[in-house]
């Protein structure tokens, strides 16, 4: 690691004042220390927000919940309210990393973890995300793990978070504190930027912004929720593709369907046209196949990851069958309570 100053912030104001262009927040440390050891991130100052009070709780927020930025991934997954009302979030968290890492990883850090593109991880290779304007070695390189949606000619990398995919399907918002102390909440599609010509700027946070938490809207009564992750080994691996679904069937028709896709884009991916095809319709295999075809019609794969298109289509169809009752639910598909 390059030398750095370590400061521990006692309050958000203190943290905000200590941040800036050459500084970085450290929360759990499980991603940033990995990257600092490889000198891929080289902050001159680390601002430890781990002991800032008020960020480590899960509290009622209207009919929903507000999850503090420092809540550990394992605590969030195991929370009784989350398991009952937002089970897709528990499932997504439990599918990620390992028991040890989930005990350390935080909600904010998980949202802001960096890509696993192998060329981003190799300082000897050109990477626009590490060094804007340097070029992108992945384009002509091995592209198995890269994205198929939302990429640009400057960067093809996928966002690795499982948690964020579930949050997108739950229409959650990210609470962000600006340098002047003002706070706003943003849907994930506004929080995460697409790469365009600046893949190094991944969110709208800015150098001294701090994520303070995540806001979950009221649970969707009577929904069936699922997180399905497809990967190279059964555990402790990043997603090749994943699907998060929150689906409600009423009177034999799909009343509501929220879907998000992981491992396939620079941010959790969603597609309104697919949702529109499903809502109001009776569950049906031909419909599900058509929706899956619609989803991948927009894909722009790398020659190495064309396999992700049929894989994503099949995963979506399978998840839709289970969440609408056409097939028996498997592990990872859970029902929430009907409204009281």
């Amino acid at each position: 690691m390059r030398p750095f100053d370590y400061t521990r912030a006692g309050t958000l104001d203190e943290a905000g004042a200590q941040l800036g262009k050459t500084a970085a927040v450290i929360a759990g440390g499980t991603n940033i220390l990995d990257l600092m050891k490889l000198q891929i991130m080289t902050p001159e100052r680390l601002v430890d927000i781990g002991r800032v009070p008020g960020l480590d709780g899960i509290e009622a927020d209207g009919d929903g919940l507000r999850v503090g930025a420092l809540v550990r991934n394992s605590d969030l997954a195991a929370d009784g309210r989350i398991r009952a009302g937002w089970p897709v979030l528990s499932r997504a968290l439990l599918s990620g990393a390992s028991g040890q890492i989930r005990n350390k990883a935080t909600t904010g850090g998980n949202l802001l973890q960096r890509t696993r593109c192998p060329y981003f991880y190799d300082p000897a290779m050109a990477c626009n995300k590490r060094e804007p304007g340097a070029g992108c070695a992945a384009k002509e390189g091995v592209g198995r793990m890269l994205a198929i949606f939302g990429t640009s000619e400057h960067c093809l990398a996928a966002h690795p978070s499982d948690m964020a995919v579930a949050l997108r399907a739950l229409d959650a918002k990210v609470a962000v504190r600006a340098a002047d102390g003002s706070e706003r909440t943003l849907p994930l599609d506004e929080f995460y930027r697409l790469p365009a010509d600046r893949p190094d700027i991944e969110t709208v946070l800015g150098p001294d912004g701090i994520v303070t938490g995540v806001v979950l809207p009221a649970p969707v009564a009577g929904s069936v929720q699922a997180y399905r992750k497809v990967r190279d080994r059964a555990s402790y691996a990043f997603a090749l593709v994943s699907v998060a679904a929150v689906v409600t069937v009423e009177d034999g028709r799909i009343a509501r369907a929220r879907l998000a896709f992981g491992g396939v884009a620079p941010r959790p991916w969603a597609n309104d046209a697919v949702t529109a095809m499903l809502e109001g319709e009776a569950p049906d295999d031909a419909l599900f196949r058509a929706a899956a075809d619609r989803l991948t019609a927009d894909a722009a794969p790398h020659p190495d990851n064309e396999f992700k298109l049929p894989m994503l289509r099949r995963t979506l169809v399978s998840v839709l069958r289970e969440t609408t009752g056409l097939a028996e639910p498997s592990i990872g598909t859970d029902r929430t309570d009907a409204a009281a």
């Binding site: 680390l46 195991a78 555990s235």
Partner: protein, 167 residues
């Protein structure tokens, strides 16, 4: 910089570079070599310790972040002649070959058994609502953060089975 650690019930005052990981503090500053460095990147679990009772990878955290924390390493679980049940079970079940991953396996299993006792679900739990039955697939999933190059997995699972619910 200065950091106070409570390791296995003993207080240590460290004077260290900010870059020192908890793993390097334990090995190079305190001289407890039970905790192993496998990958130094969170991928193998050899460095697993308990911090305030919960298992984490000590390679992916800074010593400075743990000022005042209680750390338990494999040396703190038990010693030759007075082994903890899980340590004894690894001996009895042949839960290792070279032994390099073993301290991490034992510390991880110690934390894992507490998580299961608290009813925390895993990725392979059929239901999220509680009751955890630690069968082979549950143990394998919950221990997937600990790699064993010698592939002693069947005996590691057997060792963990043999102490489950016994303490």
């Amino acid at each position: 910089m200065h950091t106070q650690l409570d390791v296995n019930g003993r207080a240590y005052a460290l004077d260290h570079d900010p870059r020192t990981t908890l793993l390097d503090a334990l090995r190079d500053h305190i001289g407890l070599y039970g905790t192993k460095k496998g990958c130094d990147h969170g991928q193998c679990g050899a460095c697993t310790v308990l911090v305030n009772g919960r298992r984490i990878n000590s390679c992916l955290t800074l010593a400075a972040m743990h000022d005042g924390d209680e750390i338990t390493t494999v040396e703190g679980l038990g010693e030759p002649g007075a082994l903890a049940p899980l340590q004894q079970a690894f001996v009895d079940c042949d839960g290792y070959q070279c032994g390099y991953c073993t301290p991490g396996q034992i510390m991880s299993a110690t934390g894992m058994l507490e998580e299961a006792k608290a009813g925390d679900p895993s990725h392979v739990s059929a239901s999220l609502s509680g009751d955890v039955a630690l069968d082979d697939s549950e143990i394998a999933e919950r221990m997937s953060g600990n790699l064993c190059r010698c592939s002693a997995y069947p005996f590691i699972r057997q060792a963990i089975h043999s102490v489950e619910g016994k303490e």
